[in-house]
Amino acid sequence: MIATLLLLHVVVCATLAIAGRRWGRLSLLIAAVPPAAATIWAVSRLGSDEPAHAHLAWVDTLDVAMTFHVDDFVEIMTLIVSGIGVGVFVYAYGYFNDKDTSVGRFAATLLAFSTAMLGLVWSDSVWSLFVFWELTSVTSFLLVGHKNTNPEALLSARRALMVTGGGGLALLAGLLLVSQSAGATLLSEIGPAEGTSVTVGAVLVMVAAATKSAQVPFHAWLPGAMVAPTPVSAYLHSATMVKAGVVLVAVMGPAFSAIGAWKALGLIFGITSVIWGAVGALRQRDAKLILAWGTVSQLGLLITLFSVGNPKATLAAVTLLVSHALFKGALFLIVGEVDVRAGTRDIEQLGGLARTMPGTFAAAMLAGLSMAGVPPLLGFVAKETAIEAVLALNGAEMWLVGAGVIGGSVLTVAYTMRLLIGMFGSGPTTPLAAQHGALSAPSRILALAGVVGYFALGPLEELIAPAAERLAAESVGNLYRWPGLTLGLWISVAVVVLGSIAGLVACRLRLSVPAGWAAGVTDTAVDFTLVSGRWLCARLQHGSLPVYLVTMATTLALAAIPFVIHIGSGSDSFDHLIWWHSPLQAVMALAVVASSLALAAVATRLGAGIALGAAGLSVAALFVIHGAADLALTQLLVEAAIVVGFVLAFGHLSRSFPPVGLRWRAVRMAVAGLGGAAVVIGLVAASHEPVAVPPLDEMVTQAAEIGGGNNVVNVILTDIRALDTLGEVFVLAIVALGVLALARTSRQDEKNQAEDTAQPTALQSTTGSPALETAVTESGSQ
């Protein structure tokens, strides 16, 4: 079923990508079908204890597979991703108008994101997790940059991609380290572990989670991403994609619980973000940016609670995960609705909407109060549980986490007050455009769900508690609609009172919008990455073949370093190394080296031909000494042909080779020398491995019996490798044809050339060879 659902998503997505342009807004409703199917599937599975599995083989031999696993926790995420997805698609139907031609593209991309997000939460194998993780980054990039003529959208999209994509690389490295040391590639099989590589892996995974979930100091991309159309902000940047980091922390938490660095880093990211995000939200004027900064804060709270790792905190986190998706989704959709109808999102300009948009006001109150943690709403339950979890901690941890949770809650109440008063409170009434049903219905449903969730806490608990138990691996206790007159309740009352006062003060103060240092720092880092990437590209893709080859030869030389280290470690004996098999071999070896050096030194082409012949003949002599008569014969023939060919092709060219710049020549010599040394070192290191003793007796007898020949080499070539030899003949035939064709056209061109000599071609004039030779010399010497 899992595979079928994913396939349905992909098929609809591909169809929309092709035909969406013609269908216009209708494509948004079509795109809602796969998420609706996934929601129905998830609902139908509620209450079943058996997790769903799917396994798609990918590269079996490397143990790389797409493995999916849907348990109680994943089910909640499925409901959030697909359930809110359906609402967002319906909302987008009202949000866009029919004149917009980019709707088809939007629907296809948003559905692609939905697919990637489902794949991400369903993934059990580290490979599929990484692939879908990156896919969500890429689709987020496309959606943030949806208005592709708006420079600000493009910059924000790039920033989001660089931060979350960079985090994806950290995730890959971290997952590889962890799965390597755990010996398992399935998340469900990676057990608690310790050790240096696991610690490094865990830290990398936490950094990846922090980039995706926009934790301070990686948070700047999230407010920037608010240039996207509101459905995108509501869906990706509050309800689902930014939760991916939280989900990762939740799922990996049990395996890393023993690692101090994991927990410490999670708490640092989380608590800093809770406070800093809420402060940011208090200082913004754009309603959407208030919500975005609020999301940073709430995600920080989630990461904090999951990092604490005790059962109560996990229960609070899962409850908050659900309630946040409901209230933040609703608030985003409401802000979008206000934006479409009133034409602005600035809370200083908006006002009096409580009278003119009563339905929207009611929904915003429900969602906002749920965010502030006021009963009778689901957000209250989540906050109460979080405070109880804090009170269950001891010592410094209690004070630290408590400061984050309670301080964050106070600030949350404050910015919620400011948002609601700013949009709906007294002030000049903003004129409104006509209403669209599709634009308002989803936010009403999401906001009401917060109330229903509070009163139907029993059934909801059956959903949340098993999920938290699966993460905490022990009993997590119960959720309470009303905690009684406990310390937790009094703290909650204090939070609301303090927060309201702060909110009212903030409304009066008209705080200035901050300059956004984090965005500046992020942009500098992004720019630096891009500039250095271009610099490297300009150096590597230089355009000159010699430079490419020098780069490759240098790489070859560097590849010998492990061999050098291995030999240097002295673990191998080199007794099998001898100076020579016979003195004659040494003499001929010197002859080969001498003639090839002469080849390098000789300045004329005729001399080069002679030296080439000498080198080839010496190699043939080495074959004779080695006992390889057939090789020697072949080598003699081949060498003769090549020397003749060389003289024919180049004999009547200008007598000497063109001059070469001295410094460039020195670079080439050094690189060539190192390359030669690298090959020798590699051979020496490899020669330590024992060579199987060839069954010579057997070979000789079999050659006579089966092949009917005395020459073993010939029998191997014509009998055992007959097909290879046939292929070789074909290769030679094709080469002969090619050479013939090239030679014939050359003659034709020579005639044409003679006629055209008066007009040199553009190609020649732009790449005048002496100038280029200097260019290469310069670049080589740099």
């Binding site: 230089h542 355009g543 060219l653 080439r668 030669g676 090959v679 060579v691 010579l696 005395n710 050479v739």
Partner: protein, 137 residues
Amino acid sequence: MSAALLLVVGGLTAVGLYFLTGRSLSRIVLGYSLLGHAAVVSLILAGGGAGEAPIAGQAAPQDMSNPLPQALTLTAIVISFGLTLFLLALAKRQRVLSGDDLVEDDIEDRRIADHDATSATASSDAEIQASATADRP
């Protein structure tokens, strides 16, 4: 393993790489040919020590050199011969077309490198903004 043959492999590789990194096409062909020799000798070197030719009746089997790498190497010699000839023909054609035997730069790559080198110093933000405004209808 014979140090003399190792010297041959190292020397041929070094001179071959030296030629290959040059700009003269005819010397690139020479370098290619030398690298071919180096590969062939290293195959033989890896296949065992020297001995008598592996021909039945000429020597006792235990004195023979290993015939298997020889059979494999023979193919290598022939194929590298074919490629060398083809390179020679290409080099000759290049000489006829341009009057010299120098490898020219890839103009497209060159353009990319120049473009990147100049834009790497300029602010990339400004560049994106400029191109975005240019795209606007």
